[in-house]
Amino acid sequence: MRTLLFFLSLFALPNLSAACTVRLAVASNFRATLERLVTAYEDEANTEFQIISGASGTLFSQILRGAPFDFFFSADAEKVERLENRGRTFGASWTYAIGRMSLWTPGRNATAVLESNDPIETISIANPKHAPYGAAAASWIEAHWGSDKSVRTVVGANVAQAFHFVKTGNADAGLVALSQLISEGIPVNEYVTLPDDQYPSIRQKAALLRSPACAASSGFARFLRSTEAAAVIELSGYVTGQESE
């Protein structure tokens, strides 16, 4: 019995190690950047930041059903605004980043591919029905290739999977997030960042979901809107809301 209690107590230990836990629910595309932001944030003692990444739609459904998250960084604006309208956010939401989309053609010069209309066999995009990068990609393809059926489009569940299809060589091109290309250290000549007037804007909004559990939580909320945080976000391949609003 004592041994059993000892082992059971082990399960409780991780929770005891930090006085305050701040949970950040984040769309997959922003995860790496958020990790950098957490590192950059002057961490208060005894605070643990937990990052939960996933598809925005999944996180949204979980939040509606009471998932214990402190922040939500959606890949779009709509989901955060819906939560806001339902009174499920604490304070106003804000645009934390505007996504930039790139055409990536591994092993080829992307500018050349785009300008000379070099053939692309299979292009990988995120799902246009629910992923903002997917909607942007689909409208870009429609505008550029129209009814040209020679390009086969494959659809990843999100922009991370769209990237993955290209990375594994199963698609020879992809419309992916600039932030992914930067964080994966893809050579710059392999991609072209598309002008943002060529696709619907990928405005990503965030919100605090409940009253700050500890000082670190409200401190982090302020930090996210600082110029220091904006610099990290821009270096990661996004435009920040501060400039355009």
Binding site: T58, N127, H130, V155, G156, A157, Q161, F165, G169
Partner: protein, 230 residues
């Protein structure tokens, strides 16, 4: 229900049917050999076949995608054979499903074959039956329940497949967008009504299949004693 939903359902039926047929063709001789062989190779095969029971589908899907890529073994194979790449294609999904559902077909068959009395097999041999007719004319007819169970479970498990398809499918309508993926898309797009409709069909389908299994075969397909003493 939208035409896209219907298309996804139809594709699911097509995938499950093709997978089940292939699995029975492979599974019958394979299970027969596994039951009768004491070799180390048979043990190794048993372990390999059971792997999908333990491994998350994402692991299987991930490595299949790598294998199907131009630098993977399957990708090299298809390109030397002059075939279309397997990723994002219906044949690719069938291959993934065959691997993923293999234990659900092989294990009931093994249980069925193991229950065929050795005395019957010995008698058949002494009457001149070769190994092939032992399987086709003695073991399979005596394990009908197991064969049906294997088919039903293989089919049902393929209908319920999601992770592997998500990893290697590419969500192409009519080609790789099966019902489970379509439901995921509805949920992600916050179209809960669409998700409910399609889910309802799958729930009803599962209930019918399981009711059949329990009513018609008394549930014994799962805990197969196989030898239905005629």
């Amino acid at each position: 229900m939208s035409p896209e939903d219907l298309q996804a359902l139809w594709l699911t039926v097509k995938l499950a049917t093709s997978t089940t047929i292939i699995l029975l063709i492979i599974g019958l001789p394979l299970s027969w050999w596994l039951v009768r062989s004491q070799s180390i190779a048979a043990t190794a095969f048993n372990v390999l076949i059971a792997l999908p029971l333990v491994l998350p589908p994402t692991v299987i899907g991930f490595y299949l995608l790598l294998a199907m890529g131009p630098s993977g073994p399957l990708g090299a194979l298809t390109s030397t054979a002059g075939l279309a790449p397997l990723a994002f294609s219906f044949p690719g999904l069938v291959l993934g499903s065959v691997i993923y559902s293999l234990p659900f077909v092989v294990q009931p068959l093994q249980a069925g074959f193991a229950a065929v009395p050795q005395s019957v097999l010995d008698a058949s041999s002494s009457l001149g039956a070769d190994p092939k007719s032992l399987l086709l004319r003695v073991a399979i007819p005596m394990s009908q329940r197991a064969v049906v169970a294997a088919g039903v479970l293989g089919f049902a498990h393929t209908v319920g497949e999601f992770g592997v398809v998500l990893m290697i499918g590419g969500n192409i309508p009519g080609e790789t967008r099966v019902a489970s993926v379509q439901i995921y898309d509805h949920v992600e797009a916050l179209d809960y009504a669409g998700a409910h409709q399609l889910s309802l069909i799958l729930v009803v389908f599962s209930l019918v299949i399981l009711t059949l299994v329990y009513r018609v075969w008394g549930g014994s397909v799962f805990t197969q004693s196989g030898s239905k003493s005629a």
